[in-house]
């Protein structure tokens, strides 16, 4: 999904504000409450894995994504998923919020889909590492090119690294595929690799002497003989 969350390489977000070095984990209690709410999904079936949860956050209002802060984003994702699963209604939340000081025109981060949602599947095992019988397709030091295709849902291939040439520097075994798992389409485990890119291969104005690495799933990657590639320079 080419969403607001896919921030890598975007321009115009200003300088990094480091704030107070002693700032606490949770500046306000509600932030800890939201952090704790991220555990209710499995109890009520609204989400059972990180991938669904993350995609819930990615689907919130883009304006809220940039202005509500990290725990505000999580709140939007949690509300989205709880409403889609029928655990609560937005009307209930809004009524309760208005009663304790919310304003009618407050921006609400959650954007739940009207049609509910994917059937929830329980994880096949703890964590996200799995096993597979077939060998990894790419060896270390192999050159690859990433797919240039955007996908409508959740993915772990950022837009800035689509259609780019890189090198396999590590194989991490087999992991649940977030792109399917986020949508209730099963774990479909795949080999996972660390791919290193030269910054100058990612951006025309990339800094020299910079390498950017991403952990990418096998189906994002194409084998890399690019002698006839139109992109070859």
């Amino acid at each position: 999904m080419d969403g607001i969350h896919d921030l890598g390489g975007k321009q115009g977000h200003g300088k990094v504000d480091k704030g107070q070095p002693s700032a606490r984990n949770f500046a306000e209690r509600w932030q800890a409450a939201v952090f704790t709410m991220s555990n209710v999904g499995p109890k009520c079936g609204a989400w059972t894995n990180t991938d669904t949860f993350r995609h819930g956050v990615e689907r919130i209002s883009p304006t809220a994504y940039l202005t509500h802060g990290y725990y505000g984003r999580w709140l939007g994702g949690i509300e989205t998923l709880l409403v889609e699963a029928g655990v609560v209604t937005q009307k209930e939340i809004t009524t309760r919020a208005l009663a304790i000081g919310a304003k009618e025109n407050d921006l609400i981060a959650a954007q739940p889909n009207k049609q509910v949602a994917t059937p929830i599947k329980q994880p096949a095992a703890q964590g996200a590492q799995r096993s597979l019988n077939h060998a990894p397709k790419f060896d270390i030091h192999t050159q690859i090119r990433t797919t240039n295709q955007s996908v409508p849902g959740h993915t772990r291939l950022p837009a800035y690294a689509r259609g780019k040439t890189g090198t396999v520097i590590k194989h991490h075994g087999v992991w649940v595929f977030p792109d399917s798992n986020a949508h209730g389409e099963g774990e479909q485990p795949q080999h996972l690799y660390t791919i290193a890119f030269r910054a100058t291969d990612l951006w025309d104005d990339g800094e020299h002497g910079v390498q950017v690495s991403l952990d990418l799933f096998e189906s994002y990657l194409h084998a890399g003989d690019y002698s006839n590639d139109i992109y070859q320079q």
């Binding site: 969350h5 921030l7 890598g8 390489g9 975007k10 321009q11 200003g14 300088k15 990094v16 504000d17 480091k18 704030g19 700032a23 984990n25 949770f26 306000e28 209690r29 509600w30 800890a32 409450a33 952090f35 704790t36 709410m37 009520c44 802060g69 990290y70 725990y71 505000g72 709140l75 509300e79 709880l82 609560v88 939340i93 309760r96 919020a97 009663a99 304790i100 000081g101 919310a102 981060a109 996200a128 590492q129 772990r156 291939l157 950022p158 800035y160 590590k170 996972l192 660390t194 910054a199 990612l202 951006w203 800094e207 002497g209 910079v210 390498q211 950017v212 690495s213 991403l214 952990d215």
Partner: protein, 207 residues
């Protein structure tokens, strides 16, 4: 914020708000109360999380790992070969380290960690990420102009230092092993651990 009343009355559920409560704070409280009524959450769960991440899960854990790697070359080798297994010795809690990769700075190589798509971070060794790590400015820029961003954050690197940016896009989590500062060779492991900063283990500062 949630336990105070401002004296202006009309509080439902025992709560009334100061004017400065953000809309998201109020909405979070509304949702929290609904989840409590449905038996999906207890207020005490929140208190436990606060204590856990204030007292037990934080960068003091990663600092112990770094200090041991500086004192014990065999541990350093194990840590760089398989970070997940090496930190099992410490029995940390806190999650987000199903797979931990530790990357070592060298005299001419500097590592820095980000998650551009989300805000992934190795909670078990570093605790919860600082606000700036989750903000759009850091997430958007550190992959594209790291030398400039690091300089702005107070870490000016020589122009011939190679920078490796680790954008945590799957479930692998990264931590930087900074170089041991000169003149600290005689310190004990716990003295060293006390001087390793969170920012050095993310890669936006020297140790």
């Amino acid at each position: 914020m949630t336990d105070k009343t401002d004296g202006t009355g009309d509080s439902h559920h025992g709560h009334a708000h100061h004017h400065e409560s953000s809309p998201q704070a109020i909405r979070a409280e509304a949702l929290e109360s609904l989840l409590i009524e449905r038996g999906l959450l207890k207020a005490s769960d929140v208190d436990h999380v606060i204590v856990q991440y204030e007292e037990r899960v934080g960068p003091m854990n990663g600092a112990k790992v770094v200090a041991r790697a500086w004192k014990d070359p065999a541990f350093k080798t194990r840590l760089l070969n398989d970070g997940t297994k090496a930190i099992q010795d410490f029995k940390f809690e806190g999650g987000q380290t199903e797979k931990l990769v530790v990357v070592a700075n060298e005299s001419n190589i500097h590592n820095v960690v980000v998650c551009t798509l989300c805000s992934c971070y190795p909670w078990a060794v570093l605790g919860l990420p600082p606000k700036w790590y989750k903000d759009p400015a850091y997430r958007s820029r550190i992959v594209r102009e790291p030398r400039k961003v690091l300089a702005e954050m107070g870490l000016a690197l020589p122009s011939d230092t190679e920078i490796k940016v680790w954008d945590s896009s799957a479930e692998v989590r990264y931590m930087v092993l900074p170089e041991q500062p000169a003149g600290t060779e005689n310190m004990t492991e716990s003295e060293l651990a006390n001087r390793v900063s969170r920012d050095a283990m993310i890669g936006v500062a020297h140790a």
